[in-house]
């Protein structure tokens, strides 16, 4: 009795118990998962210990783990420059000749600003950018400068409205940020304490906007809003697509088996598998991410698949015995191993996603794999139990129609086509393979054309309000996609002798300058140098030594007699000036470099606008002097820069400066506004800056580094491309290993990998040729389809092998039976899974659609490839395959080749995982592998020669 039979027998006899346990586990898991969230709805609840509520995570930042260098840097910079994620409200008026710069529109904008201040929770009010909250600096007549609110109160006349526009356009910081360069639109920027408040802000603002009359259009956008809306849409998707998939599968099965009571069982299995997996996900405390929200829709078709096999067999056999238990035991005997292997390969395909360095993808992969194995477990236990619950009389006619069905089916349209196809593959094997090679070459070219690109805003469909807002606002403004370019001065290396050399030289120079006015300056500065010489060895940094010197000088000054008092005052001033030498971003040369860097950014064509410290200095300088263009420049000394900046801070918003530079003036950041959130464009800008910095080495040894969401997207995408490649390689190896073990032959194992490999290459080639961007969903698919599509190959090859065996290795005579029932079963399965994914097309979000379309295509193509390329290959390799088969030993370790191939595969797999998880260097791994492989090969050789194998070999020989 095989394990499958034993299991089926036990489960059938203990049908009640099996069902009870299944229901109990499902209820417990479901409750544990749902309870905390329901509990939370009650007021005054206490958190339930150890349980997690359902959390949703739509933050693209989380595509990288929290301790990823770029995220750590991003968070640090956001903190030290007090930057927040912003909700952007764009206001456009297409009817008025002055756009929104008319009294009515400005009044409404002011009202909305006020309303936001009072009602938007978590708004960082001091950083709110709106006409009534920002400052204007301008000439106010001869010798007078004005600091005032840009729009203190909404204007009464059209002329006043236009003057507000002109003022804003004249301030570089506001032009193309607050007011569009065409002077017709306004953008309000609402920084929020936390991103998760943005949906509430969105709703609050919408409420207020709904009360406005007038013909202004309001567009609310910004990444935090997009993310939050995405979260909502994600649930819509789960509520629509998953049940729709269920319905489609249900209908298909009804079509195939025409027995309602029977096809309910796969539905139950699918439901239970989904509840257990998602429940497990929630209980463990993982948030529901865009990826994990797709788990149900992946598990459902796969879960149903095994049950379909069982039903199909049961359907065929029931009428032979008319005994439920006997039939199911027989069926399970037949299917236990294939089902285990198809489940294992599918699970391996998904589980390999754990090799990607992207946490949400890892969670997705692992839990889908878990779900698949759960579904398998449920299928092999619950199906026998369920069959026993069906009253015998309801099965009376079951499968009856099927008597002589084989004939009937074979002459159906499907049967005829498949038969013809079988003949074709035999006769035209070589042309088919040649064609395959051509397809592969074309696809290879296509793959080389793939553009790697993603854009979270484009996750929304074309007609979504967010996309519309994105389009309109990027049309009017310098861009709503923010990235930041940080420039940092390196830490200063301190060495007392070098410090003193510079200090003394400048002290002498200063003393010399002062000599005429203060005759005792040289004497005092000489004393200063002595103080410095005493203190320098005691300190470990420039800052520390200057602090020590400053303390000493202060004492000297306080005790100084009248005649040296001024000189000591100058000495103290000199020490402070020395301290300020480290404030590199007050250095005019550095600021001019930043201005040049800004120009380089603008030259990329993607950056619509950038804001930097240099603009602030230039603007203040211009207004302090003439107000004319000629004074829009960086002044010539650090002190002049500092004094301009003090004036900038004499405003309503003094802290605005600290968004651009840190108070120690050693870190600055450029705000870069991109008109496109495409990673490709961000990447282009990044490269342009790198090239600029290479060709124009920055002064003061500055180094640059990017941060901001738009940039983070680029980083995780780059990781995803390599990560997916590794995951794909990993799952390829796992599946290959499983196949080799299953078929006890490396050649057969390799053969089973062919159709899906061809398919994936072809599909990705097509993606490249069509010009579709290689984005997250496209990337994830490779591993998924691998695990799924190999099912067809397993079934096809397993059956082919059996028929080959039956026909003594004569493929020609094996073709017709192979293209009979097995080919039809495969075709049906292709239809079920491929159609099962199509409801994703109903989803309101692009990634789901992409997954739906591509997965259905991949499954269809790989199914077809299985039925065409595999038989053609078998035809060509007939001799080898058959002779290999003749020597087939029973144990894996008994065939030396199989053993070695498996060992090497396993070694590579382990090496890859180690490189991924423990960051072991490849050199080390190569050495370890080089040692491990020969040892394993030797072991294989020894094992294959052992007594047990010989005995079996001879046994096999005898039977053959």
């Amino acid at each position: 009795m095989t394990i499958g039979m034993k299991l089926a027998d036990t489960c059938a006899r203990r049908a009640g118990l099996v069902t009870f346990v299944m229901v109990l586990v499902t209820v417990v898991v479901g409750t544990l998962a749902a309870l905390p969230s329901i509990w939370e709805m009650f007021p005054d609840h206490k958190p339930l210990p150890g349980l997690h509520t359902v959390t949703v995570d739509t933050d693209p930042e989380n595509m990288l783990s929290k301790d990823e260098a770029v995220r750590v840097f991003h968070d640090d910079m956001k903190k030290i420059l007090s930057l927040y994620d912003m909700v952007v409200v764009g206001v456009v008026n297409e009817d008025d000749p002055d756009g929104v710069f008319n009294p009515g529109s400005l009044k409404r904008i002011d009202e909305l600003t006020q309303y936001a201040k009072e009602h938007v929770e978590g708004l960082i009010e001091v950083d709110l950018i709106a006409p009534s909250t920002v400052d204007n600096i301008e000439q106010g007549g001869v010798g007078v400068v004005n600091f005032e609110w840009l729009m203190h109160t909404p204007p009464e006349t059209a002329e006043e409205a236009r003057s507000i526009r002109d003022k804003a356009l004249d301030i570089p910081f506001l032009n193309d940020t607050l007011v569009s360069a065409d002077g017709r639109a306004i953008c309000l920027y609402l920084p929020l304490e936390r991103k998760d408040l943005s949906h509430a802000a969105y709703v609050t603002l919408r409420e207020k906007i709904a009360t406005f009359d007038g013909n202004d259009q309001f567009y609310i956008t910004g990444l935090p809003v997009a993310e939050d809306v995405f979260g909502v849409e994600m649930f819509v998707q789960m509520a629509i697509s998953a049940p729709a998939a269920m319905a489609v599968i249900f209908l298909l099965m009804l079509l195939f088996f025409r027995k309602l009571v029977l096809i309910i069982s796969p539905m139950i299995i699918a439901m239970v598998a989904v509840i257990l997996t998602m429940g497990g996900l929630i209980i463990v405390g993982f948030p529901i991410h865009i990826m994990s929200s797709m788990i149900p829709i992946f598990i459902m078709p796969i879960a149903v698949l095994d049950a379909v096999h069982i039903l199909s067999e049961f359907f065929d056999r029931y009428q032979q015995t008319r005994d439920r238990k006997q039939t199911i035991v027989k069926v399970m005997d037949e299917l236990f191993m294939p089902m285990l292997y198809t489940s294992l390969t599918s699970a391996a395909g998904f589980a390999s996603l754990a090799l990607t360095p992207i946490p949400p993808v890892q969670v997705f992969g692992v839990f889908v794999a878990l779900g698949i194995m759960l579904a398998w477990l449920l299928t092999v236990t619950f199906m026998p139990a369920y069959v026993m619950f069906m009253p015998a009389r309801t099965l009376e006619n079951f499968g009856a129609k099927h008597a002589g069905g084989e004939e009937e089916e074979a002459h159906g349209p499907l049967g005829r086509v498949l038969r013809w196809l079988g003949k074709l593959t035999y006769r035209q094997a070589k042309p088919i393979l040649a064609l395959t090679v051509v397809v592969l070459i074309v696809a290879g070219y296509g793959i080389s054309q793939i553009t790697i690109n993603d854009n979270p805003v484009k996750w929304f469909t074309e007609d979504h309000p967010i996309r519309e807002a994105d389009r309109v606002l990027n049309d009017h403004f310098g861009g709503t996609y923010m990235a930041y370019l940080a420039l940092e001065a390196p830490d200063e290396q301190y060495a007392a002798p070098e410090f003193l050399a510079g200090f003394d030289q400048r002290a002498d120079q200063k003393a010399d300058e002062l000599k005429s006015e203060l005759p005792n300056a040289p004497e005092v500065f000489g004393e200063l140098k002595q103080i410095a010489a005493q203190q320098a060895p005691q300190a470990d940094s420039r800052e520390a030594v200057l602090k020590l010197i400053a303390g000493e000088v202060q004492q000297k000054y306080d005790a100084a007699p009248e005649e040296t008092e001024f000189a000591w005052d100058e000495a103290s001033l000199f020490v402070d000036a020395e301290r300020q030498r480290s404030e590199v971003f007050k250095d005019p040369e550095v600021l001019r470099y930043i201005a040049k860097l800004k120009q380089a950014l603008a030259d990329t064509g993607v950056v619509g606008k950038s804001n930097a410290l240099s603009d602030i200095v230039k603007t203040v300088h211009r207004e302090l002097l003439s107000g004319d263009e000629q004074d829009f420049r960086i002044p010539d000394s650090s002190a002049a820069v500092a004094q301009c900046l003090v004036q900038f801070q004499n405003s309503h918003r003094p802290d605005d400066l600290w968004h651009f530079v840190t108070p120690d003036y050693r870190t600055t950041s450029l705000w870069v506004q991109l008109t496109s959130g495409d990673n490709r464009d961000m990447k282009h800008v990044e490269q342009a800056v790198a090239a600029f910095v290479r060709d124009n080495p920055p002064p003061a040894h500055l180094h640059h580094e990017w941060f901001g969401l738009t940039y983070i997207n680029v980083v995780w995408q780059a990781k995803m491309v390599t990560g997916m490649l590794e995951a794909f390689a990993g799952s390829f190896l796992v599946v290959f290993l499983l196949m080799t073990i299953l078929f006890r032959s490396a050649l057969w194992g390799l053969l089973s990998m062919v159709p899906l490999t061809v398919t994936i290459v072809a599909i990705y080639g097509a993606v490249g040729l069509v010009g579709k961007s290689y984005d997250m969903p496209v990337a994830v698919l490779s591993s998924l389809s691998l695990g799924l599509a190999v099912d067809f190959a397993i079934h096809f090859l397993a059956r082919s092998r059996r028929y080959l065996e039956e026909h003594h290795g004569n493929w020609e005579s094996a073709v017709p039976p192979v293209f009979g029932e097995p080919a039809r079963a495969i075709t049906r399965n292709i239809i079920v899974i491929a159609t099962g994914f199509t409801p994703l097309l109903l989803a309101p979000l692009t990634p789901y659609k992409t997954v739906g379309v591509l997965l259905a295509t991949i499954l269809l193509v790989s199914g077809v490839a299985t039925l065409i390329i595999l038989p053609a290959l078998v035809r060509v390799l007939e001799k080898r395959l058959f002779s290999a088969k003749q020597e087939q030993p029973v144990g894996v370790t008994c065939n030396c080749t199989v053993c070695i191939v498996s060992s090497i595969t396993a070694v590579v797999l382990v090496a890859m995982s180690m490189a991924q998880y423990w960051h072991v260097g490849w050199t080390t791994l190569t050495w370890v592998s080089l040692i491990a492989v020969p040892i394993l090969a030797l072991t294989c050789g020894v094992l294959s020669r052992r007594q047990a194998c010989r005995g079996r070999l001879s046994n096999v020989g005898e039977t053959a």
């Binding site: 600091f147 000394s637 840190t662």
Partner: protein, 282 residues
Amino acid sequence: MKTLKMLALIVPAALTLALSSAAARAADPSVDEIVRKTNYVSYYQGTDGRADVRMKIVDKQGRERQREFIILRRDEPEEGKSDEQIQGDQQMYVYFERPADVNKMVFMVHKHLATDDDRWLYMPALDLVKRISSADKRTSFVGSNFFYEDVSGRHIEDDVHELVETTNTFYVLKNTPKDKSSVEFKYFKMWIHKDSFVVVKTEYYDAEPGADGKDPAPYRTYEALGVEDVQGFKTVTKSKMTDHRTGGYTEMEYDHVKYDAGLPADVFTERYLRKPPRKHLR
């Protein structure tokens, strides 16, 4: 009310100062009296005054910046009035010393009760003297949490004053602006020490009191952290302004305070912006 105001004007300053606290408690002064005395103690003590100020600006992240400057102040003399009665026009000269790169920068104000103030700025590195329009005095004073108006003093006529509470030690005044559009607060409250008329705390609110009459959370708070007796004048020597919205605060420490220093009027003219009056700055 009018008579009270008259009375307050008539009562000689010396007498007021000499009054023991017990006597003061026996008859609480009128609101106007409190306002005027407070205004005097805060901004008008002596005929003139000077102080070294050390300013420490601290942001939410605890990062500190220092500024050091000297303030000279002179009250415009009014004939026949005692020192305490003089609460009229005033001049201020703020000379920056540190950090080194703003050394010699000067900010000067001619405060007028009847007309707009005149304000000047001298930036030595640009060798530039500039008039600043004084439309809005509620902007940051050189990047600190203090406003220009906090330094130069808010005109007492700009607000309606109510005495909302009298405790054992404080008069609590509620001040509501007459022109709401010119300021960012709805009202502010001052805790005035009963004996010295030193403002110990001021809270600014940007919303009206709740239905229960309770004040909303202040968004800005001033505190006097140190008071010393200088030449017989109660003088705040350390103060702090906290901005609850940004989480930052600024402390000012006054050193070498001197009243009645005999500052000549011409120190407070444009001529001295470029050429600081060294003698008076020491």
